[in-house]
Structure formats: structure tokens, C-alpha cells
Amino acid sequence: MFSFLGGFEKRMEIVGIVESIVNRKNRNMELERLFDDNDFLNLVFSVLLYIMEKTLSEDADCDSEHILKFMEAILPKYYVVQLDNNQLHQLTDYIIKNVLQNEGIAYHFKAVDYAHDARKNITIRLIADHVQEVNGGYKITYALTDQGYDFLFRTKEVDQEIQMTIEELKLKELIKRKNFKKAHDQSRNLIQMVRQKKKEIQLFMLKIKENIHDADIGQYEKLINSTYDLLNEEYDLLSEVMDMSRKSEEKLRLEYESSLNLDASIKKAQAEIKQINYNIRATLSEQRDLILSRQSLSKVYIDTIGDSLAYGMENRYDIEELILKQMEQNVEQVERFWQLVNPLFLPNVYKNINIRSIYEPQGMIKLEEAEKQDFIEDEDLSEDYEQEKIERVNVIYVEILDYLLRQALKNNGACRLEDIICSLEDEQDLFHRLTEERMLFTTLLKLYDIGVVNLAEWRNQEDKVVMNLSEEFNLEYCLYQLMDKYDYVHSVDKFEILKDTDDLIEIEVSRSIQEDLHVLEKIEVSNFMIRVEEQDEQR
């Protein structure tokens, strides 16, 4: 639910460690009272660090005697406490046994584990004791646990360089102790750390690119120098570590040869050493990358500084300071300030009025033209009207063709125009519609022109294309429409309009143009014969 609480118990481990030392029970107030305020705690942590230092850097054991000597050395000078030998022994014992080891009782800290909604028992153990057999007797030595190391590393100001050195020292230690599993983890950490350093450099580079003024030279130098020092040091250490791991491998091999028994632990150790070697190689290559990125960091830094200086050398206007404020203070001069932005404008040529153009002949503006403002809409409308008209005209063409065919079929496949007009005149509406703009007669003439229309053939054609419609008679379109609408057309094979006689018929068409205005048209037309042939089986 709350992602930020992920791994909370891990954080609490540190708190638990501090708590284990600060809130101890069964305090020996007699000893603790010897120290001012927090001095005792300081001493405890100093002892911890001593153990770490002793076990890691000096590669030696650390027993209570060493610790005693250490305290003896620092107490008078830094804590202004003078103790006799007995007191020193008591104090050493108290710090090692009671404070750091909780009298040998495991110390637990209960941390909330949000992920599992549970309390996690964290065992706190900072130092571990080892019993060694020396000259027939026993000696107890102390070393930090991993938890102890972890804790102490974190209490220090995190410096990759130092941390890394210690990581490596620890690795060295671990390899010596044949604790290869840990060494394996450590070598993995090494890679992580080099990568982190690399990332640090990348981030710094980004910072430089974003704004050079945010990146100060000290920071840059520190980063560069620390990287360089670190790498120098790391190389030696790493090759040493590699050496050691090689030696350990050798040792393992010898062990194996002597016992001729490859037990599981040796196998595991071998695999781990192999992994360690691999990780070390990876670390080396990462370090090489680090050097390269350090170089590019230097380049970016120098380039950016160069650019920044170049920009700095340019005389650039501080718009607010040099222009806006000046304008506000010298309002009467504002017009002059505009000259500053002149280069941004297109050239403005002085235009002269040509007197002649005033006397030039003018196109006559018609009143209605001048009033019309929405030309575009008008154009649209006129197109619409046109389209509307085309559609209406074509519907009539289809009606005409349909009527002609039906009449012919009704009369056994042949019919004269005279008869068609006669029957058409019975249906006044249809008559008027079909004779509108003399469409009936022009259609007849066109069909006569076309001659025989072979419908059967047309039906079988694959590529029937209907062109854009116009006000003209379009036979194909009409046939298409008829086929779509009426079944009878499917049985028509062919039809034609013949002129087999010179007879003329006269047809009168009257129409009203306005309310009181009627026009009577007289049309003379040949008495055509319309002949329709049906398919054989239909006859």
C-alpha cells in the first residue's frame, strides 16, 4: 500500500543496533559514572572501530588484551580519565561482554515488516568471539560480525572511495578465511560500487550540461581527483585480491590433491572463487570505463566552461536592466527604444500613392453584388441546386424509359408513340412531368439515334460503369435503375425505336410559368414505333 515503507525492517536494523547499545539493561553505573555525559558511548564505538581496524587492516587477531591497551592509550588523553589496571580490566570486560555482547544473550529488536504485516525479530550481534588454541591454552579473539561491519560503514560519512577500500580489504580478509560465499557477495559489491561511481560522474556531467554555474570547480576537482586516486589504489588492491583468490584456488587444488576427495564444500568454494574471479574482471573493466567517463567528464567540463566564457564575453542585453527599466524611467524617449527591436522586423518600404490609380477606370459595382457578402455559401448553394436538378431530371429519364417499355410490352411488344401519348394524357401529372422541358421527346429522339438496345448483351457485360450524371440522357444509368427496380426488365432482350412511317403527330403541352401565365407548346413529332423483344421462354 505504501511503497515507501518497503524494506522498512531493514532500516530498523540500524536503529536496533543503536538501541542495543544505548538502551542497555543491567548497567554498571559504577563504571559508567566515571565518564562524562556521552563519553561512555563514544568509548564503546571507539572500541568497535578498533576491533574493525585491528582485524581488517592489520590482518591480525584482536583479543581483550589489545582492547585494553587501546583504551589505556586513549582514556587519559581524550577522556581525561585515569584508571588503574584493575579498573581497566573491569572496563574492558564490561564493554566486550556486557555492552557489545549483551552478556552472551542474543539481543532481539522487533521491527515492523509492513510487507507481511508482521513483527520481524532482528538479531543484533556486533562482534563475535572466536576461541583459539594457543600453546596448549585457549585465547579468545574478537571480530566484527557482518552486521557490525555494515553498521560501522554506515555510521561513517559515506565516501565511495573509503568504503570501497574497506570493501576490498574485507574481501581480502574473507578470501584469506576461505569464506568464499561472502567474498562472492563482496566482489559483487565491488562492481556495484564502481558502477555507482560511474553514475556519479554521469550525473555530474549532466549537471554541468544543464547549468555550469550549479557545478562548482571544487566539487569537480574533488570528484576527478578522488576518482583518479581511487582507481590507482583500486588497481593495486584488486590485483592483489586477484592474486589471493588465485592462491586460494591453488590451495583448494592442493587440498583436493592431498585428500583426493572433492567434497561438496570444496566444490562450492571452487565455484565461488570462479565467480569472484569473474566479478573482479568485471570490476576491472568497469574501472576502465570509469577512467574513460572521467576523461569525458573533463572534456565536457572544459568545453562547457569554454562555452560559458564565450557567452560571458558576448555583450548581451539584460533586457530588464538595460531596456525595461530605462524605458520606465524615460517615458518620453520610448519611441527610440523601439529601434532596438528594429532588426526583428521586415523591411518597411515607403509606399507612395500613385495619383493615377485614383483616376483609373473602375469596374462597375452592381448594387446586389456589393451587398452580397457570403459568396462562398452562395456558390455552395448553386452547386447544390445543380445536383438536385440533375437527380430530378434523371429520375424522369428512368420514368420515361420505364413507361415506354411497359406500354410496348402491354401491346405485345410493339407500340406506337401516338398510343403512348394517348394513355399518358390520361395521367395528367405524369404527362406534365415527362414532358417537362420536352424531355420525353428529346429522349425519344436519342433512343431513335441509338437504334437497337441489346439488353441481354448489356446484362452480361462485366464492366458496367455509370459515369458521372449530368442533365443529359444516360441510357446505361436508366437501364441500371430499371434493372434494380423492376423484374420485368430482366426478361427484355432488346428494344428499339423505329420510324417506319412518315406520319407526324401533334402534341400540345400546356404549363403555367407564373400564377396567371400559361404557355401552350405544340410539338410535332414522328409517330415512332417502340418495339420490345422478350426472352424466348417468356413469349
Binding site: 518600404v349 495619383i355 462597375m364 459595382i365
Partner: protein
């Protein structure tokens, strides 16, 4: 200075101000009288589609009729008058210009200049009368005149009247107490 350079300088002043006065640029004015300079300028005239003419103590640059770079076209006038200006507004402005020129320079003797200034109100009054006359005349006669002279009279008279009515309305409106 070479004659080309001088010609360019003269042309630059003309481009900048539309004219070159003897008082302001006496050296250039004298150089203009140099025939070599005039030769170069005449090439400018050809290429830039304009004419450079000296009248008394001033040199003027006149763009050719259809020169949209240095001169105005109907479109420019329309933009100049306003974004919703129509061609009739432009023609009206032409008529008014003609009328102003007429009011100033209608003398027929050696110096045609008739007056030094005209009051805007006086100009408006006279224009009112002119346009009223156009509208009250026999329309057929006016149309004949229009066709003869290739000039819109009725239309611009109407446009003029519309503008006056508009102004009056505005005044009336502003007198209505809130």
C-alpha cells in the same frame, strides 16, 4: 563617389521617404542633376517599375500604376481603411481624393493651386451636397455618366450616406440616458 553609388543613395532616400528635398539632401540633389546618375536611376526606374521625377526643389518617386511593392493597390487601400472595407469604400476614398485635388488644384492659369487648406467639416458638407446631387439626379443620366467615365457614382454615394446615417444614429444613441 561613383555615379552608381550616388544613384543608390538617392534611391535609398526615395525608398525611405518617398521624396528627396533639396534642403535636407543638398549634395544628393545636386548629384541628381548629373547625367550619369540619371542614367543609372533610369535603370532603377525600369527595374523597380516606377518613375523618378524632379519637381522644383524636390525629387519624387512615383510607383507605376500596378506596382504593389512601392505603391498601393486596391487591396492595400482596403486593408488600410479597415478589415471589413469593401471595394465601394475604396472607390469612395478615390472619389474623395479626386475631390480634394479638385478643391486645391482646379485653377486654370499658370499656378493652378486654389487654396492653402480646407476644413474637414467644410469638405464633408461639400461632399454631402455632391452625393445628394448624384442620388437626386435622374438615375439614367447618372448611369450614363458612370459608364462614360468608368466611375462608380451611385454606389459610392450610397456608401457615403450609409456612413453618415450610422454616425447620426450613434449620436442619438449616446444621447439616450441610461
Amino acid at each position: 563617389m561613383s555615379s552608381v553609388r550616388t544613384a543608390i543613395e538617392i534611391f535609398k532616400v526615395l525608398l525611405d521617404h518617398g521624396q528627396l528635398d533639396r534642403d535636407a539632401h543638398s549634395d544628393l540633389f545636386i548629384e541628381y542633376l548629373n547625367s550619369e546618375v540619371q542614367e543609372v536611376l533610369s535603370e532603377f526606374e525600369d527595374e523597380m517599375e516606377c518613375r523618378i521625377i524632379k519637381i522644383n526643389n524636390t525629387i519624387y518617386l512615383f510607383p507605376n500604376h500596378d506596382n504593389s511593392l512601392l505603391g498601393f493597390k486596391n487591396k492595400d487601400f482596403r486593408e488600410w481603411i479597415g478589415s471589413n472595407a469593401r471595394l465601394s469604400d475604396v472607390y469612395l476614398s478615390y472619389y474623395i481624393t479626386m475631390f480634394i485635388l479638385y478643391k486645391f488644384y482646379s485653377g486654370k492659369n499658370k499656378n493652378p493651386k486654389q487654396r492653402e487648406f480646407i476644413r474637414v467639416m467644410a469638405l464633408i458638407d461639400e461632399l454631402d451636397q455632391r452625393f445628394e446631387a448624384i442620388l437626386n439626379n435622374n438615375q439614367e443620366d447618372v448611369i450614363e455618366t458612370e459608364e462614360d467615365l468608368n466611375i462608380n457614382l451611385i454606389r459610392i454615394a450610397e456608401v457615403w450616406n450609409q456612413k453618415i446615417v450610422y454616425e447620426e444614429n450613434k449620436e442619438q444613441q449616446s444621447m439616450v440616458p441610461y
